[in-house]
Each structure stands twice: as structure tokens, then as C-alpha cells.
């Protein structure tokens, strides 16, 4: 029993026009905890378009978060708490500040958002700085974890590199394991959420979770390609010209 995972990032059409690479990054993994049970980790990050190294910042953020969790898993038992969320953010900032120093740049040049989901038999933790969103189901149906974070204006948001990142950090916890998880960057946000009510647009998610549920073992390898194809498809590109990332997990008993 574990999670079935699929994730992909695709470049936005506006980036293709200006030959800018995709500045989103993502990660989805299931690890084995000391007690034998699985731990889900999903991370997505969106590099700021205004930052010279936003895309690299997003990659570094994901790497740092993954390395931090790998270390925790190795050391044994740990709690899914606010403290853990803060420690992840601090680890990311340390990595980005070091990279900025080494390149003689400012951390601001590596600005990116960061969203994370950690889940085990003991509960689920969501952490978020900036826009994009996490939709999950821990047994009570799909819900939006954290209200997408943007400033007053649509082209403003918060970044993990902001001075007050730890204060800006939003976390939410559930006592149960996540059965369905979708984490996405802001390129997908307007397609997947009803922004007026901050609720998931359920029909958006249905094909993904249905497809993942019925995929046979041989088909599992195809999922990533199908997701990438969807993210680059015309109906999606008609709605958004931004980079887009979608990371999905489905608990298969």
C-alpha cells in the first residue's frame, strides 16, 4: 500500500515566445519510514519571472527540501508539525543564500514560491509560501489547503527568498493520511480552483485521479507522459501562457 505518483512541469507559451526555459520545478516521492509505513513528499516551486535566476531558485528549493526530508527519514521518527515546515523553509533559504553568495548575486535573484505536502499514517502537513495551490482529500472530499497567496495585485506574490518568509509561511495540518493530493503552480490555479469561493473545481481533478486509479502496473509508466501532454495541450494553453506544474498522488490500498 502506497501512493501512486505522477508529476510534470511544462513551459508556458509566453516563455516559449521569449525562449525562456520553464521556471517551475516539482518533486513527488514516497519513502519508507522507520516503522515501515510510507511517507509522501510533494514539492512544487515557481521561479519568479522578474528574478534573473528564478528557475534555478525553484530547482534549488526542491533539492533542498528533498535533501532535508531524506535526512529526516534516515534519522528515524519525526513529527509533521509547524516546526518541521519552518525547518524546511530555513533549509531552502540556506541553500539559496549559499548559491547566491557563490554566484555573487542576491537571494532575491533566485526568488521562487514553494508549496509542500508531507503525509503519512500519522497525518498530513501542507506548507505554502506564495501563489499556486494544494488540493487534497484526507477522507472528507477534496478541499483547498491554503488560500492561494497573492498580494493585492495579480502580478504580485510572496517568495521563499523574502526577508519575512518564515512569517509569510502558511501551514495546515490534518490528522489523517492524504488519499488524494494535487499540488500546482499558479499557471494551473485559474483552471483548477473556483477563485471566488476558494474551492476545488472538482471536474478538473476527476480525470487524473480516475486515470491513476485504473492504471495497470504496465500503464503506470505512461502517466507522466500523459500528464506532460495535457499540460502542453491547446485547451490548457488557451487559458494560461504561464509555466505550469501539476504533481499528483493517489493512495492505492
Amino acid at each position: 500500500m502506497t501512493w501512486r505518483l505522477v508529476s510534470a512541469s511544462e513551459v508556458g507559451t509566453s516563455h516559449e515566445q521569449t525562449a525562456t526555459p520553464c521556471q517551475d520545478s516539482c518533486w513527488a516521492q514516497s519513502d519508507q519510514l522507520a516503522d515501515g509505513g510510507p511517507l509522501l513528499s510533494i514539492f512544487v516551486a515557481d521561479g519568479a519571472g522578474s528574478a534573473a535566476k528564478g528557475g534555478e531558485g525553484a530547482e534549488l528549493a526542491i533539492e533542498a527540501a528533498a535533501a532535508f526530508i531524506a535526512k529526516k527519514v534516515k534519522l528515524g521518527e519525526f513529527g509533521l508539525s509547524d516546526t518541521l515546515a519552518t525547518d524546511i523553509v530555513l533549509a531552502i533559504r540556506e541553500r539559496i543564500y549559499a548559491a547566491a553568495d557563490a554566484a555573487n548575486l542576491k537571494a532575491r535573484d533566485f526568488a521562487c514560491t514553494f508549496l509542500g505536502v508531507l503525509s503519512s499514517a500519522y497525518g498530513t502537513l501542507v506548507l505554502q509560501i506564495g501563489d499556486g495551490g494544494v488540493v487534497l482529500d484526507t477522507g472528507n472530499g477534496l478541499e483547498v489547503a491554503v488560500v492561494p497567496m497573492s498580494g493585492e495585485f495579480v502580478n504580485m506574490t510572496h517568495f521563499v527568498t523574502d526577508e519575512d518568509a518564515v512569517t509569510l509561511l502558511e501551514t495546515k495540518m490534518w490528522p489523517d493520511r492524504a488519499l488524494k493530493v494535487a499540488a500546482f503552480t499558479d499557471g494551473i490555479q485559474r483552471l483548477a480552483l473556483n477563485l471566488a469561493t476558494n474551492t476545488p473545481h472538482e471536474p478538473f481533478f476527476t480525470p487524473f485521479f480516475n486515470g491513476m486509479a485504473k492504471a495497470s502496473a504496465e500503464q503506470e509508466d505512461l502517466l507522466q507522459g500523459l500528464l506532460a501532454k495535457f499540460l502542453g495541450s491547446a485547451p490548457v494553453n488557451e487559458r494560461t501562457d504561464d509555466d505550469k506544474t501539476l504533481a499528483l498522488a493517489l493512495w492505492v490500498a
Binding site: G49, N155, N194, L223, S233
Partner: protein, 219 residues
């Protein structure tokens, strides 16, 4: 044999497009009579034409026009797609202060509408074009602009047409006012529409650097 798996969907949430509001605050005092006003009217048509070449901007940009004086809401906020420029005629004096306060109120009202309807938006622009000297008390308007700019509530731009009192404009606008070269309203409005077009497409984290005003402003 297992079923085909498809991740295809085009059932998306129907969220409104984010909006990019812009108010044109236009001086139609007596001194604008004749060629200046003809060129301003031609400029508004250019603005409409340039904007209509861009389908996304047509959905996102909203235009409102306040004329003075007397202060009048010539066009309430209207989507660029349904914006047909009025033909302005010259009228009375130059109550710049009252006109500015009217425009700033419209901006705040519009933001309230957006919020109530779950519409996200870009920072509003207020664009003042005048050829004279305020004939009313403008200090309160200048204070409101300073406060709004400091709180990043909107961006206020002032353009002086020949004869404008640039010293007063400098005290009203936080940003350095620009002088229109001759009657190059068409060039000015081309620049405005292209700036609005790039702002209305920017994504989070992107401060859009404004293109330098070329071909219409004199230094």
C-alpha cells in the same frame, strides 16, 4: 487488456479574467478647444484601435474616462472590448483637484467590485492629461496621490500639454510629469496601449518595466 487511460479534460473552472483598470483623466477646459481637442479625440481612437489588435488585452484592460471641467464621468469603467471613445468637446475651467479625487474614488470603487466578485486585478493606472493650471484647490488631491503611491494602491501619471503648469504638476504627481511634444496625442496613446498590453499579461512576480516614452514626450 486494460483500458486506455486519458488525462484529457477541458472542464476548467470558469474564473473571470484578471482586470487591468486604467482611468484617463482628461482636461477639456476652454483652452483645449480646437486642434488640441481634435488631436486628443484622434488619440483616443488610436488607443481603441491599438488595443483591439490584442485579444487578451481586450478581455483584461478596463478603461474609464473622467473629463474636467466641469468634472464629469464621461465613461464609467468599461471593458476594452466594449470601449468606444466619446468625442470630447471643450467646456469650462480646470478643476484638476476635484477631477483627481473623482478618479481615485472610481478606482477604489472598482477594486471593491472586483473583490466582491472574486476578480483578481493589476495595479490601476490613473493617467492625467492637462494643458493648464488647476483652478481649484488641488492640495488634497496631491496628498491622496502621495498616500496612494506610497501604499502602492495605484500608479499616477501626469502629462502636460503645451501651456501646462509643469511646476504644479510636479507637486501633484509623485512620478516626474512628462511634457507632450506638440500635439502628439496619437503617439502617446499608442505608447499607453502597448504598456497596458504588456502589464495585462504579466504573471506573478513580474514587475513590468515600462517602455521609455518614445516619440511623444520631450525632456
Amino acid at each position: 487488456m486494460s483500458d486506455q487511460i486519458s488525462f484529457e479534460t477541458n472542464d476548467f473552472a470558469s474564473n473571470p479574467e484578471p482586470r487591468c483598470p486604467c482611468i484617463l483623466l482628461l482636461d477639456v477646459s476652454g483652452s483645449m478647444n480646437g486642434r488640441p481637442l481634435d488631436e486628443l479625440n484622434a488619440g483616443l481612437s488610436t488607443f481603441r484601435d491599438d488595443m483591439s489588435a490584442d485579444s487578451l488585452a481586450m478581455k483584461r484592460v478596463e478603461v474609464g474616462i473622467v473629463t474636467f471641467g466641469p468634472v464629469k464621468i464621461e465613461t464609467p469603467f468599461t471593458s476594452a472590448s466594449t470601449f468606444y471613445p466619446p468625442t470630447l468637446t471643450s467646456q469650462g475651467d480646470t478643476p484638476t483637484g476635484a477631477a483627481i479625487l473623482q478618479a481615485l474614488n472610481m478606482v477604489e470603487d472598482r477594486k471593491r467590485d472586483y473583490k466582491a466578485n472574486g476578480v483578481s486585478y493589476y495595479r490601476p493606472w490613473v493617467f492625467l492629461i492637462t494643458d493648464g493650471k488647476p483652478t481649484d484647490a488641488w492640495k488634497a488631491a496631491a496628498d491622496a496621490i502621495r498616500e496612494g503611491e506610497a501604499g502602492k494602491k495605484f500608479a499616477f501619471f501626469a502629462i502636460g500639454v503645451q501651456g501646462a503648469d509643469m511646476d504644479t504638476l510636479r507637486q501633484i504627481s509623485v512620478r516626474e510629469p512628462l511634457s507632450l511634444q506638440g500635439l502628439k496625442f496619437r503617439e502617446l496613446f499608442s505608447w499607453l496601449s502597448s504598456s497596458l498590453r504588456s502589464v495585462s499579461k504579466s504573471t506573478p512576480g513580474t514587475e513590468v518595466p515600462l517602455e521609455a516614452p518614445k516619440g511623444w514626450a520631450s525632456v
